[in-house]
Structures are given as C-alpha cells and as structure tokens.
C-alpha cells in the first residue's frame, strides 16, 4: 500500500514518519503526475493560504478532485481547511470535498494553542487521544452524511465524510499511530473495492492531459 503525503509545505515529514512506522510507503507529492499509483493521500498541517496557492500553481488542485472520487484523503489542520466545503469569513479557496463549515484560527493566536484530550470512537471502540491543537480551526457545522469520530469536549474535531478523514488537531505530532492506522484501513478498503488498477488511472490521466493542455494554452 502506498499513501502519498502532499509536500508543498508544512509538517509533511511527520506524517511520513507515522505512515512508515505502520509499514506503509509514504512518498512526497508535489506534482499531479506523482498521484499516480497512490492508494491514498495525506494533506498535512501547515498554512492553508499557502497550500491553496501552491496547489493551484502546480495543477494538483484539479487532479486531486479526480483522485478523491475513488481514493481516501486525510487532512490535518490546514489539510482539513482546504478540504472543507465552506469557511467562515475567509477568502481561502477550498477543494469542497468535506461537507462541513470550518472556522480558521478559531481558538485564537499561538498563545492559545494547547494539548487537550480527544474522545475517539473508531470502529466502535471508545478511547482517548492526546490532541495537539496549534492555531487550530473549529468545525462549526457538519452535513448529515458526516460521521463524528472524535470530540474535544462537545466539539467535533475528527470527522469522516465517505472517503475523506479530517482532524483539526495533529496526530502526526504524537507517537500515537491509531488515527493513521484507521486511515490506512480506509485506504485498504477503498483499494479492495476499486478492484484492478487499470481502470483507475484513466480519470487521472485525463486530468493531467487537461492540465497540460490548459498550460500550453496559457503559454501560447
């Protein structure tokens, strides 16, 4: 199994360490072509404004929308923000793959960053996770199809919308691999239900072709 980590900016190396601990190959991804052969993708923590711009610059923005049709994506913090359908009072453009309304920097500035308990409910098992919240966003509202898998107090902080998993905190900054292991199981299930790889690459190739032609049109 191969789970790429978007490496345009942010704490991508921490996600790679987590996945490698689980025995999953975790290559860095910067360009659309690098999505090929991946079974899933992680959008790390970092700055969402920077992500949004860099994803557009490289063309990976459009390629990711095709990828998300049949491949799981896990976003943490800034990664969650760029996945969201809607942001409160913000002009950052998002991928609109997660049926939720999200507020950036919702706890305040860095001095309000904290480590706090998250109550997890993964596959029916209830447990506690040490959540590292850094200039973290809040999930203000979720759609009816979204499962809440983790809460800090009453607030949803880990959610799943079909193939999309998203956390407002940073499991990658701990030594606890449970959430990454859960994502790896999602990726494995999606891979099995997709069946043979051949038909999978078709839409991606189309996406790349489209980007190439857009680019050459711009240059011309």
């Amino acid at each position: 199994m191969k789970i790429g980590v978007l490496a345009l900016q942010g704490d991508f190396a921490k996600h790679q360490e987590m996945l490698e601990k689980l025995g999953v190959e975790a290559p860095e991804v910067r360009l659309p072509a690098e999505l090929k052969d991946l079974d899933g993708l992680v959008l790390p923590g970092g700055e969402s404004t920077t992500f949004s711009k860099l994803m557009k610059e490289t063309g990976i923005w459009d390629a990711l929308r095709f990828f998300a049709n049949s491949h799981p994506i896990f976003g943490t913090c800034a990664g969650l923000i760029v996945l969201a359908n809607e942001l409160v009072n913000q002009q950052v453009e998002t991928l609109r793959l997660l049926d939720a309304v999200v507020q950036r920097n919702a706890y305040g500035r860095q001095r309000e960053s904290f480590v706090g308990p998250v109550s997890l409910a993964l596959d029916g098992d209830e447990s506690t996770f040490s959540g590292v919240f850094i200039r973290a966003p809040k999930i203000v509202r979720v759609g009816s199809g979204v499962q809440v898998l983790g809460r800090h107090g009453d607030e949803p902080v880990l959610v799943r919308d079909g193939n999309i998993l998203a956390a407002t905190f940073h499991p990658e900054l701990t030594d606890d691999t449970r959430i990454h292991a859960y994502f790896a199981r999602m990726v494995d299930e999606a891979r099995q239900s997709r069946g043979p790889a051949a038909e999978e690459d078709a839409p991606l190739k189309d996406a790349e072709g489209e980007i190439r032609s857009q680019r050459s049109a711009q240059q011309g």
């Binding site: 490496a7 345009l8 900016q9 942010g10 704490d11 991508f12 190396a13 921490k14 910067r30 923590g45 970092g46 700055e47 404004t49 920077t50 711009k53 860099l54 610059e57 490289t58 913090c77 800034a78 913000q90 950052v92 950036r104 920097n105 305040g108 500035r109 860095q110 001095r111 960053s113 904290f114 480590v115 590292v132 919240f133 850094i134 200039r135 940073h170 900054l173």
Partner: protein, 295 residues
C-alpha cells in the same frame, strides 16, 4: 523530543507547520497582504527592515506595538516580531500583543551582552539565530523552538548564511560519528549541554526546525539554502527592497517548495526586475556586523 512537556510540543509544533515555507519581513499592512497573497507562511512585523536599520544607525529596538497590531489585523497567517537579545521585557510586551513567534534577534541592538532570554518562561515560541552548532544548542537549551542561521541581515549577500548553515551541518555530521565516551568532551568544546549533543548524535539533526535567514535575495538563494539543509526560508530586505516585490515574493515561495526542480527555479527567476542592491561583507566595518552579536 528531548523535552516532552506539552508547552514545548505546542511551540515546536508551530515551527513544524512553517517548514518548507517562506517568512517575509514587512513594515506595513499593505506589505503584509502582498506577502500573504504571494503564499508566505508567516510575516515578521517590523518598523524598519534590516537594510534600513543598517542605513539608519543608532539603537534598533522592538517595533512600535501599533505597527505590529496593524499587521496582525491585516493577515490571517502567523505574525512574528523581533525583540533585542536579552530584553525579556520587550518579549513580554510582544507576548501580551499576541505575537505568534518572537525572534530574539541580532538585527536589533543587544540589551544584554552576557545572557539571552530565558525562553522557557514564555508561552509564545522563540526563534534565535546561530553561526555554529554550539550557539544553536545553547539557544535550544534556553528554550528556543526554532533555530535560524544569522547570515548578515540587510546585505542581500548570501555568503554568511551559507557559512553558518554549512558550519552547523558539518558539525552535526561529525557528531553522529562520535563514540558515547567522546560526548562530554565535545559538549565542553561546543559550550552546549551534553544531553543536546547526545540528541544530535542519535538523531543526526537539531531537536528543533532549522531555518535559513540573512541575505536571501533571489529564488536561487532560497533553493541553495534548502539544498544545504535549511527547512524554511526567512527573507528580510530581499523582497521589499527589490523592484517588483509581489513577483519576487511569489517566485521565492515557489523556489522554496520546488527547490530541487531547477527548470521551475529557472522559470520563476525570469524577468523579476532588479534584486535589492547588495553589500560586500568586507565593506562592512567589524563593529557594524550583526552576525557577531549574541553569545
């Protein structure tokens, strides 16, 4: 991690989030917007950028809180600010303002010629400059959550940043080859705590992110520093002292992300207009060099 406290995890955590990005010096809300729009991961709010501090002379102090507040209101990305070396009261003011990261900086005139700030006492993380590994580890021992090269700020000349980054990386490589029985003597030589020297031996890197600063003026400068082992780039005077700040800012951001894609670095370097006028380090009198401040 060599320190497992929650406070420290949250401080180093923010430094982790800034990796692979560009942090830009700005003096007005308008410049801060240009930086954010170009894809900066954070801005450094200043009254004067280093090139102007150098030209202005006199005592350089913490910026007017009004300037910092205006910049905080203009952007949603983290806002950093500088205090003088050892001036913990300036740092307390910056913390009260809600600054996201404090740079205890040699660009300002030092307030204490013996001691740096005890950074463990603060909730806000600190970044500090260094010229070599001993200096880097002393700052980490004082609680710094991020280290950067000092370079020679305000010169547009990358030579000192290269010297400092190479010095740190070479020392790290050497320490990984030492035996356990050589670590105490090495710690004595470096003037750094032995537990940090042991961390470097076991992990082959600093315990906190290591960024480049001081003299970055072009996309190729950013790629050079990333290839030498920097994890992010600070650009001081290089952007807003150049002919076309918005285009240069965007180009440096792209060159930092794709620092090994030389076609891309070539493409974004095209037609950026004049870079900031540079300064040869040899032309700067010893007493006006900023990198030698700090101990």
């Amino acid at each position: 991690m060599w320190n497992t406290s929650e406070d420290y995890k949250v401080k180093v955590g923010l430094a982790e989030m800034l990796k692979g990005g560009v942090i830009m010096d700005v003096t007005t809300p308008e410049q801060a917007k240009i930086a954010e729009d170009a894809g900066a991961v954070a801005v450094m709010a200043l009254e004067r950028i280093p090139a102007d501090i150098r030209a202005h002379g006199g005592i350089a102090r913490m910026s007017d809180p009004k300037v910092i507040r205006a910049i905080q209101e203009a952007v949603s990305i983290p806002v950093m600010a500088k205090c003088r070396i050892g001036h913990f009261a300036e740092a307390q003011v910056l913390e009260a303002l809600g600054v996201d990261f404090i740079d205890e900086s040699e660009v300002l005139t030092p307030a204490d010629e013996e001691h740096h700030i005890d950074k463990w006492k603060f909730k806000v993380p600190f970044v500090c400059g260094c010229r070599d590994l001993g200096e880097a580890l002393r700052r980490v021992a004082e609680g710094a959550a991020m280290i950067r090269t000092k370079g020679e700020a305000g010169t547009g000349n990358i030579v000192e940043a290269v010297r400092h980054m190479r010095s740190v990386q070479a020392a790290i490589r050497r320490i990984t080859t030492l035996g356990d029985d050589e670590l105490v003597a090495e710690a004595k030589k470096l003037g750094a705590p032995v537990e940090l020297v042991r961390y470097v031996k076991e992990n082959g890197k600093l315990p906190v992110p290591n960024f480049a600063a001081g003299g970055v003026a072009t996309p190729a400068d950013a790629s050079l520093m990333m290839q030498l082992g920097a994890e992010s780039i600070f650009v001081g005077s290089g952007i807003f002292k150049s002919e076309n700040p918005a285009a240069r800012a965007r180009a440096i951001v792209l060159a930092t992300t794709h620092y090994m894609d030389f076609d891309l670095v070539a493409r974004v370097s095209e037609g950026l207009g004049e870079a900031m006028p540079g300064l040869d380090i040899k032309e700067i009198p010893e007493e006006q060099r900023m990198a030698v401040r700090g101990w």
